[in-house]
Amino acid sequence: MIYKLKKEFLQEYIDDLIKNYEVWGPKKIGNDVIFSKLEKGSEFTDERTILGPKNFIYPPREKIGEIDDKEVIVIGVKSCDLLGYRMLDDVLGIDPSYAERRKRVHFLNFVCTEPCQYGFCTTFSGPRLMEYEMQFTDIGNYYVIECNNKNLIGKRFEEGGENEIKALEIIMSDFYKKMPPLDVKDLDKKISWNDPKYAEFAKRCISCGACNFACPTCFCFDTYDDNGLYREWDSCILSGFTRMAGNINPRPTLDLRLRQRFMHKLKFHYENFSYYLCTGCGRCIETCPVRIDIRDFIRGV
């Protein structure tokens, strides 16, 4: 269903949500914008956060077997993140504890109408998603709301129709002009095991793991014991990721590990699922201390 909402009523809508749910959304903390628990609608901003809200469905660290059962609404997630979580579902979805948590988190996404600094989401499907619970697009005085969850409809929502869809389409075609897609056709076949870029990146990569931790699609985790089993986000950039007993390591050097990262996203996952494991969010570029740029890599292939 298509609705529209006068922009001035967004705060009120969020206030109403807060009455019934725990609501999290982007909020300003000093110079930073981060997902935090909203006490009132006026705290909300639709600015882009450094990290997406992946932690809601997939915490950075958790005790295995321990999940809380509260229902949470996360409003203001960007489409590139949400699309990433759809990809996570394809892998992690078979894990009952992930599936359980996933059901309890409702993401309401906001479609970007201006390109961000590092994003290239048009390459992979663009900011307007096909799958969503509720998708907001700013068309000037109104938000157009595409809705698949009746329970979350607000009292000020007005029915929308042709006009709104038109408006969306114009905004999107404008957006694509501003952010022309990269050419990713047959990338999975063209990408090479011996691309010299791997070694070039390895020269400056400081193994911080940010490209994994910031990525909405990275799903790898490690487990360990600390008086009970825990799991935490892992990074394929680290040598311990594949090291086995007796110091046997199939990926002993950094260039091989960087190769794994690019090839997993742009080849292996494609071969298994017929889509690239990247949504073009650009977070790995933004959080990389030495500006290793996946766009450069794709262009170079």
């Binding site: 295995i64 077997g65 892998v91 992690l92 078979i94 894990d95 009952p96 504890s97 992930y98 095991w193 799903f219 790898c220 985790f221 490690d222 487990t223 360990y224 014991d225 008086n227 089993l229 799991r231 892992d234 394929c236 990721f241 594949t242 090291r243 086995m244 007993a245 007796g246 046997i248 199939p250 990926r251 091989l256 794994q260 090839m263 997993h264 080849k267 292996f268 996952h269 071969e271 298994n272």
Partner: protein, 258 residues
């Protein structure tokens, strides 16, 4: 069993095989039956979780574990009656027995080979041969079983370094490839990658096709069912698409056998 939560299971018995290998018999607290070549994730409290191949099963599950690091060290310290955690069975297991099969096992590769031999022997299949390489005579595991099997199938053993008690072959496992009885066979290789590498070279020389060579691969593992991302070889996850691969499937992947 696709879950990260281990099922508690009691250790029924422990046997010392060699200085650094012990065999554990544990309660079968998970209903699902394994097939030869599959593995379980074993959780040892205050240490962690590790993948271990099933060696045999009936009332209990039998695992043989070599002490090599933190978790195996702790596991070796457990005693009869202690509890461990279990998840599994995981992986695809060995292909069905369909014709003469040569098992080439090195070191701690024998336990998975055992699961295959026992399973198919019990089904009446005797067209198998085992080539087993150990470091030294005192590193040989399952001595009694090896004797027992040789009543039914051909068992060939070699050691890298002999001693005064040893009158068998000395040399790496490929030095007994001339004893292979049937080249038109399935070859299952279980052991360190370096052994796989040289075995494949020899088998190729003998004209064995890539399709008839199966490798039981080892990678660092954390989940066992394809979600933790640790064990991939190219597009394949060793835990879920393996651990047993046709050589032809993975041979063109640069990091497969390095």
């Amino acid at each position: 069993m696709r879950s990260m939560i281990p099922v508690k299971s009691r250790i029924i018995d422990i046997y010392k095989e060699t200085d650094d290998i012990k065999t554990f018999i544990v309660e079968k607290t998970i209903d699902e039956d394994p097939v030869p070549g599959q593995f379980y994730e074993i959780y040892v409290r205050d240490a962690g979780e590790i993948p271990i191949s099933i060696a045999s099963w009936n009332d209990g599950l039998i695992f043989s574990v070599k002490r090599v690091g933190a978790v195996t060290e702790k596991l070796h310290k457990l005693v009869k009656g202690d509890y461990i955690g279990l998840r599994g069975p995981y992986g695809n297991g060995f292909p069905e027995h369909r014709r003469f099969t040569v098992l080439i096992a090195g070191g701690i590769g024998l336990p998975p080979a055992r699961s295959y031999i026992e399973y198919w022997l019990s089904k009446g299949a005797k067209d198998m041969q085992l080539l087993y390489g150990a470091r030294t005579p005192s590193d040989i595991v399952y001595k009694k079983l090896l004797d027992y099997w040789s009543n039914y199938i051909d068992v060939q053993i070699t050691v890298d370094r002999g001693d005064s008690t040893w009158d068998g072959n000395v040399g790496v496992v490929t030095t007994i490839f001339n004893r292979i009885k049937n080249k038109d066979a399935d070859f299952l290789i279980i052991g360190p990658e370096i052994m796989m590498k040289f075995s494949i070279i020899e088998l190729k020389k003998m004209g064995v096709s890539d399709d008839n060579i199966y490798l039981s691969m080892e990678r660092r593992m954390k989940c066992g069912f394809g979600i933790c991302g640790h064990c991939n070889i190219g597009r394949y996850y060793v835990c879920k698409d393996g651990p047993v691969f046709r050589y032809s499937t993975i041979k063109d992947i640069p990091e497969a056998i390095h």
